[in-house]
């Protein structure tokens, strides 16, 4: 807990990492100025891209005592404004799940290579990044906690599968490797509450360590303060749950 007589400082900058297939991609990396050991958090950006909101979100974790990194998942399609790149990626059908997993694992390994890493890592994402967070928690070894914020299309019908997304995340549930926190809005259409319920049943079936919270009077993206879907009460409570969850599993 921050006290007013504490020193606080942070470094936040763009770095290069070797992502999926060794491809060089940029990542936004923020960490507190300290030589003390730090746990890490990988942030998976949302559909609107590697944007200002995600840079702020990354710095927020640094402020709370984590080495935090957010890779640019859209870099292989070039550079431009985050919005232009997001629209280009949308027209291409999204980024391949395998590529995202490679980039997320590379980000975690980057943090792990640092001399003051504790070797404990969390992963978090919102919107499409929430779906990819669940995939990462199932497919990548080394994460100690995962937070899926309103990730849509964890449950996918066969006709919704694409070459980029060939397997529904829910089908990986038996492989979930770490505790999971899920934060959802009751008025969300993606994922709708009935799909969250199907996901929860699958987690129960495989006896997984998870906790889901479904907020009333909230829909998709209820923590986005710059969007009309922002819901102050749910957003404040959700952030408290995220920090409590990560502190328990990554700092304990």
């Amino acid at each position: 807990m921050y006290q007013t007589d504490m020193y606080e400082g942070m470094i936040a900058e763009t770095v290069s990492i070797n992502g999926h297939n060794g491809d060089n991609i940029y990542a936004y990396y923020a960490r507190p100025i300290t030589s003390e050991p730090l746990p890490g958090v990988v942030l998976i950006h949302h559909m609107p891209g590697w944007d200002e909101w995600y840079r702020e979100f990354t710095r927020k974790f640094a402020h709370h005592g984590y080495a935090a990194i957010s890779p640019n998942l859209y870099q292989r399609s070039g550079h431009g404004t985050p919005e232009d790149m997001a629209m280009k990626i949308r027209s291409e059908g999204g980024v391949p799940d395998d590529q995202v997993m490679g980039d997320v694992e590379a980000s975690m390994k980057y943090l792990n290579s640092l001399p003051n890493s504790t070797g404990k890592f969390g992963v978090i994402g919102t919107c499409s990044g929430g779906r990819q967070t669940y995939l990462a928690a199932c497919r990548i070894d080394g994460f100690n906690a995962a937070v899926d914020c309103w990730g849509g299309r964890v449950v996918q019908a066969k006709e919704e599968l694409t070459p980029q997304q060939p397997i529904a995340p829910i089908d990986y549930t038996k492989d979930l490797k770490c505790p999971l926190l899920g934060l959802f809005g009751e008025e969300d259409q993606s994922p709708p509450p009935d799909q969250v319920a199907i996901h929860e049943e699958e987690l129960k079936k495989h006896n997984k360590n998870y906790e889901f919270h479904m907020y009333q009077n909230a829909g998709h993206g209820f923590m986005y303060y710059d969007r009309p879907m922002y819901r102050q009460e749910a957003a404040v409570d959700a952030w408290a749950k995220i920090t409590e969850f990560f502190d328990k599993h990554l700092k304990g």
């Binding site: 559909m47 550079h79 949308r90 499409s128 998709h220 969007r227």
Partner: protein
């Protein structure tokens, strides 16, 4: 990318971007989250020219009802325009 619903087609025409007019070659029509419109989901018309880079695009985000009204309005303008042109010949 939460719905992943997008339809694309090649088109011929021009669009006016931030700086100037440019030829447009493709339109991507998605029903997904908007960047600016104050709604959770919108019909997004993304007119592009990929050969000119990612910034060569004109984007409109419409409510579903507005998109339906636009379809009808385009059809009516086409009908009347083609009729007027045919009568002028």
């Amino acid at each position: 990318m939460c719905t992943m619903v997008v339809e694309s087609t090649k088109i011929t025409g021009s669009g006016k971007g931030t700086n100037s007019w440019f030829p447009i070659q493709e339109v991507n029509v998605s029903y997904d989250h908007p960047f600016h419109a104050p709604m959770e989901y919108t019909v997004n018309l993304d007119f592009t020219n990929e050969s000119m880079g990612p910034s060569a695009r004109v984007v409109v985000e419409l409510s579903a009802r507005s998109a339906e009204e636009l379809i009808g309005t385009i059809r009516e303008a086409l009908r009347r325009g083609e009729k007027a042109i045919a009568q002028g010949k």
